[in-house]
């Protein structure tokens, strides 16, 4: 029996899921369905012992029957023995007890700084974005950050400089994390619809690509000089287990809301030779 084809949104959340290590305590912020689905995928595949903190619910290890389109809905705490209080979660994250957070941004620079606050001037911003939630404190103390964006291709997301830095990456005009004395390790991975990036030092580097995206396409969409890993490799496709997890967890397809139509039409198939989960 040959596996069904899979779509970019499915592969994308699997790639986010794979940035989670077993046993980690992981959190996602508001309006982040891809990260949200990814966390549940990780818990049902390679990280069954993770401590999953369900976004705006602060529920621990829930088994939601489906992912609703809002992050504060009782569906998201079903099956959890308990929820943290708001302050219990923030305290844990600020004292260093949370290992990973997923962060996105309307703008992201090469240091992994993100902007979810505003585009344009501060007194009269052209676009007031939603806002940073708890990010400007959490990003200082949480163990590692996984960044993601589904809007790389348009060319306006990966920018030379953010109009506003909401959440600190590895370095801002105020200094580096070390200089500021922040205990958190900062951005470790960045997943976009064009590829996967790591942070070998303070800046981002392309290390894995999708089969239907060329390095030149990635470079053209990136607003700063693209650093490419010497051992650049193609991404491992999702396993059938991972795909099944995505489909079970997100039957409403809430994750798809993060993508342009064009990206959603990208369909892939496992090549007969295998393609295992990494």
């Amino acid at each position: 029996m040959s596996p069904r084809p899979f779509t970019l949104d499915e592969w994308f959340v699997v790639l986010l899921a794979r940035t989670i290590r077993p046993d980690e305590t992981v959190f996602h912020g508001f309006g982040s369905p891809c990260a949200q689905v990814a966390m549940h995928v990780a818990r049902r595949t390679h990280a069954p012992d993770m401590v999953l903190v369900e976004g705006a619910m602060y529920a621990i290890n829930p088994e939601p029957p489906f992912i609703p389109p809002t992050g504060n809905d009782a569906a998201l705490k079903q099956g959890a023995a308990y929820s943290m209080r708001f302050e219990e979660f923030f305290d844990a994250a600020l004292r260093g007890d949370v290992d990973r957070m997923f962060l996105s941004g309307g703008q992201i620079d090469r240091f992994g700084n993100t902007n979810v606050t505003m585009i344009g001037p501060r007194d009269r911003p052209k676009v007031k974005l939603g806002g940073g939630g708890g990010g400007c404190n959490l990003s200082a103390t949480i163990g590692n950050l996984t960044l993601w964006t589904t809007r790389h291709r348009g060319g306006r997301t990966l920018v030379p400089e953010c109009d506003f830095i909401t959440d600190m990456g590895h370095r801002t005009p105020a200094g580096s994390r070390t200089e500021l004395g922040f205990p958190g390790g900062g951005p470790q991975w960045m997943v976009t619809e064009l590829g996967v990036f790591d942070f070998p030092g303070e800046t981002v580097r392309l290390c894995r690509t999708f089969p239907d995206v060329s390095v030149d396409e990635v470079r053209a969409a990136t607003g700063f000089p693209l650093d490419v890993a010497g051992d650049l490799r193609p991404l491992d496709p999702p396993s059938t287990t991972e795909l099944a997890a995505v489909r079970t967890i997100d039957p409403l397809g809430v994750r798809k809301g993060e993508f342009d139509e064009r990206e959603l039409s990208r369909v892939f198939a496992h090549d007969p030779g295998g393609g295992c989960a990494c």
């Binding site: 911003p125 939630g133 400007c136 990003s139 830095i165």
Partner: protein, 302 residues
């Protein structure tokens, strides 16, 4: 101020909302599209309140509607929007673009620290983060300080004592004892840190019932209480009702096309009261059907 004795605190929505002065610092309970004090928000708009300084964590139609109505001077939340699903908050975005509101975007953890300072009776608290972010540039009031023990640089944030917290709860008794379901978000902290607490409840219950359910916000912090069924609509208030996604979409669509005023006229001013509002909405009972089955629940979000 001292704690409030267990007296009957029931009043009308109009009377309760009239205790919120123009220009007041108003803390909004709930979060995202859950447990928002929408009946009070609508009543404040009906009463023509202006100049409010809103404080909250993650919000949506509560803040956007008050901004659309011109009731707001300053926005101090960590997030205002309709998540990935319905997108940016239209009135908030437009008012920011036109310089009609002060954008004092903050951070959940900073607001928590500021509320805790008020709650604990100290004039400030230190936080570790914020530096490195531009959020500090929206808050010239923050100060850098040095830990007297470690020498570590920290940011001192001042106590934040809202004039009034507006909370909605699924149930409560006449003394103001409120039962909430998780997530409580900042409601408990708002209740302790604010000078006054005005609460609406979907259902007024006996003290025995609210005690059995679990008292989340104690009556000794609550100044006034109004029974308003569906008082959080179009936000959810579990275990009673899910949020009204079609209605939220109707609002966002109207406001995005520049017709927030039309929405306000139809659903706030013309309705005249929450009874009128509930009649105008109509399909409220559908929202309570979430618990029938997983399929019924999913159907509400389709």
């Amino acid at each position: 101020m001292s704690l409030r004795p267990p007296r009957d605190k029931r009043t009308t929505l109009a009377e309760a909302a009239s205790a919120v002065a123009d220009g007041a610092i108003v803390a909004l309970g709930g979060g995202l599209c859950a447990r928002l004090p929408m009946a009070l928000v609508r009543e404040l708009i009906r009463q023509g309140r202006t100049g409010l300084h809103l404080v909250g964590s993650a919000h949506s139609i509560d803040v956007d509607l008050l901004v659309a109505a011109g009731a707001v001077r300053r926005c101090e939340e960590s997030y205002v929007g309709f998540e990935q699903d319905l997108g940016l908050a239209p009135a908030y975005r437009e008012a920011a673009r036109n310089g009609l509101i002060e954008i004092a975007e903050s951070c959940c953890a900073t607001i928590l620290a500021q509320l805790r300072a008020a709650e604990m009776g100290v004039p400030f608290l230190p936080v570790v983060g914020v530096r490195g972010s531009d959020i500090g540039s929206l808050h010239p009031e923050y100060r850098e300080i040095e830990c007297p023990f470690t020498g570590q640089k920290l940011v001192a944030v001042p106590a934040l004592r809202p004039d009034v917290a507006l909370l909605h709860a699924p149930s409560g008794d006449r003394y103001g004892n409120l039962h909430l379901e998780q997530p409580y978000v900042l409601d408990e902290r708002f209740a302790s840190a604010s000078k006054a607490v005005i609460a609406t409840v979907d259902e007024l219950v006996s003290t025995e019932d609210v005690t059995a359910a679990g008292i989340t916000v104690p009556g000794h912090l609550v100044s006034a209480l109004v029974e308003v069924p569906f008082g959080a609509h179009p936000a959810s208030c579990y275990p009673r009702y899910a949020y009204d996604r079609p209605h939220l979409n109707e609002y966002v669509t109207a406001a995005r096309s520049g017709d927030a005023a039309g929405y306000l006229q139809k659903y706030v001013h013309d309705t005249g009261s929450e009874d009128g509002y509930q009649k105008a909405i109509g399909r409220l009972d559908e929202l309570t059907g979430w618990s029938a089955s997983t399929d019924a629940w999913k159907e509400l979000f389709a």
